[in-house]
Symmetry: C2
Subunit: 420 residues, 2 copies
């Protein structure tokens, strides 16, 4: 089953928002065996919408449309869909009651005519309930192609996909199994890895696709394959992985299919009943933010200090003023004290510190943009490191975050292997 995602909205084309809906839908469909072949973004423009629908109708079996269903005048998706399907809009009492309930329970503002108009739906459509908003999803078929229209608000779209769309697709179609396995590596560039595993890659079963996904010091290797026989495809991919692992054991971090590096680290700490704290300067809270964006972080992450101003490093954390004068605030010496003091302040088993210049400018006497010093305090000591992460602020911060997780992961792994 081949699918196309069509996202509608001028704000996507002019780059005012990043279209994250497509990635969510792509991932959800991929898991149930639907292959997304195209993602198309177009503006709130009648002609463009009609052409995109026509093209999708001719080349895929399933079309997922998001956006342009709001109550305001710039949202023209619904009436354009009516035109495309030669259909009319009719009032759905069920949707209207749902909207009235929403307004009574949550919105607590007057229900306007434009809000009531959200209950106008295509007469031929099956309604997909939007638990989190007023614009319903609509399922409609034409020439053997299924079209599903959903609102563009991510929170609303996600609820429709999970509770309405996926169950219907699974029930309705005989879907094949798509297996995607991703191996996370660190410490080696993609071309070096490719050279190292060239013989394995040449021998790889042609039904398995290999992709290299490099990103800020890490390379992910993704193996994917599709087949109706679940057992067959899973065992083929597993065999390929079994042959690959010995070739990359020194750079292999873990499987990333369902777990991020943050989750992997968290589980290792929880298993050991150990805790982590942070003293962040140049990363400005971004490491804490990444850790706590995953549920369950409170089981191992006790807290962190964002010591952005130098005075805070001295007064709150207790780094010696003389040390900062002697070595500069961006130095391994200061990073070591930051990690050490954080470990004591937060009474944690591990502590990570960052101090650096993320840019864009270097003030007089300061280190160059991109220089980052980090330290990792462990139950037995403190190790420090210096890095040069280039001259893009966003990139420097992201590389520092990745490096922090890498350092901690390696340390935890070392200890885990000692235990064995």
């Amino acid at each position: 089953m081949r699918a196309e995602i069509i996202t509608i909205g001028d704000e996507i084309l002019i780059g005012q928002i990043v279209d994250s809906n497509s990635a969510y839908i792509g991932k959800s469909l991929s898991k149930i065996g639907v292959q997304v072949k195209y993602i198309t973004s177009i503006g709130d423009d009648r002609t463009a919408i009609l052409s995109a629908l026509q093209l999708a109708n001719s080349r895929v079996d399933l079309v997922l449309i998001t956006g342009g269903l709001g109550p305001t005048k710039d949202d023209i998706t619904k009436k354009t869909l009516a035109e495309f399907f030669q259909d009319t809009l009719v009032l759905s009492q069920k949707v209207l009651s749902h909207i009235e309930d929403l307004w009574k329970s949550f919105i607590k503002q007057p229900l306007l005519q434009v809000n009531k108009d959200q209950a106008m739906v295509l007469s031929k459509a099956e309604i997909l309930t939007n638990q989190n908003g007023s614009a319903p999803g609509m399922w409609i078929e034409k020439d053997q192609t299924v079209f599903v229209s959903m609102p563009g608000v991510p929170y609303e779209m996600k609820s429709i996909v999970t509770t309405e769309l996926l169950p219907r697709l699974i029930q309705r179609f005989q879907l094949p199994v798509i297996v995607n396995r991703t191996l996370l590596t660190q410490g080696m560039g993609e071309s070096m890895i490719a050279e190292r595993i060239v013989d394995w890659e040449n021998r790889l079963d042609p039904s398995i696709k290999l992709a290299y996904l490099p990103n800020l010091g890490r390379v992910r290797l993704r193996l994917s394959s599709t087949h109706h026989d679940k057992q067959l495809v899973e065992s083929k991919v597993q065999t390929a992985i079994d042959e690959l692992l010995p070739l990359i054991e020194d750079i292999f971090v873990g499987f990333e299919d369902d777990r991020s590096i943050e989750t992997i680290i968290g589980e290792m700490l929880v298993k050991n009943s150990q805790t982590l704290s942070l003293a962040e300067s140049c990363t400005g809270g971004a490491i804490a933010e990444r850790l706590t964006s995953f549920p369950g972080a409170s089981r191992y992450f006790v807290g962190g200090l964002v010591s952005y101003a130098t005075s805070i490093k001295e007064q709150v954390l207790g780094v010696e003023g003389q040390l900062i004068k002697d070595h500069g605030v961006v130095s391994e010496e200061v990073a070591i004290q930051m990690a050490h003091k954080a470990k004591i302040l937060f009474k944690s088993d591990y502590a990570i510190s960052t101090t650096g210049n993320a840019g864009p400018t270097t003030s007089e006497g300061r280190v160059s943009v991109g220089t980052v010093c980090m330290a990792l305090a462990t139950p037995t000591g403190v190790d420090s490191y210096s890095f040069q992460f280039g001259n893009s602020r966003e990139r420097v911060i992201n590389k520092a975050i990745n490096k922090a997780f890498e350092l901690l992961y390696n340390e935890l792994l070392k200890n885990a292997s000692k235990e064995v």
Copy 2:
């Protein structure tokens, strides 16, 4: 001039990465007067790439292609481009020298044949130098359509867009002016705003497009217009804004065209020589991360404590244990003490605190998922607030961040108007 962006990579279709390249390119082109009409994402698949190029050739004047230029086998964009343009790949000595320099200066690993192969380029193409990587950009024309191929690594693509692509487009074509102005509002839903400004919207010059962009408690209103006469289009849009502003003055936050709310708040604080600190619990460092993602945050942001564990609130921040027992850790009482103690600990003029349950689960005796208490300490006192932000962890955290900025912005605005 009409453009299409084509992003290539299976990882986009299966949702393994979010395609942020398109937004960056869309924004960059929009600024110089090129209208992006389509964004198309396809896999690393010869047939799909050829069809997409063919379709783009028939419907736009400019095609921007990213992805699939890496050194590994899964990257097939270059050879597929050669097929499409009926061209051959030839060695560019200039690109090869650049790659050799990069490896000598930064990579410091052996230069492999696959790395050297990056210097193979389409014979008909003009080379766009990639200062940050080994895969060059290529500019090639066919039937009056300009095609530009760039690597998919955002850092490399951005450098080519800025230093090579935009200057060439500006020099080469007579581009119209596209004016986009965005007004940020808060505290009112899009349908209420629409109802309030309906007369203004009906009178709006037809050459001006209005869009409503709702997002987590804020609505952005974007006015856009395109014309060759810069003065004319700018004055038309300005007139429309002048008429709109009196209608929304109670909910208007500021213009967002070049400045985010974080930047606006930062500038207000810097102007007053005031500082800000944070005591974050449920937001886990995310407010600090947002503030410090912008250059110049160090001029007003001194630091923050991520007091994730309850013990940290007591031991590091000094919140009274009895208060937590009496009111619960998620309470306005605790939020008030957190903000108050943070203001003292960090010696700042303002302090924001958050404590809540971002979910996904509620442990026994705890408040329901989505409940967030916040406090804002100012030079003269502390105000506290309670919110219910729903049941999606990501959404709860993001709503809390937006609310924090809204509370602080309103407070700063109140003080600014007092001064006048």
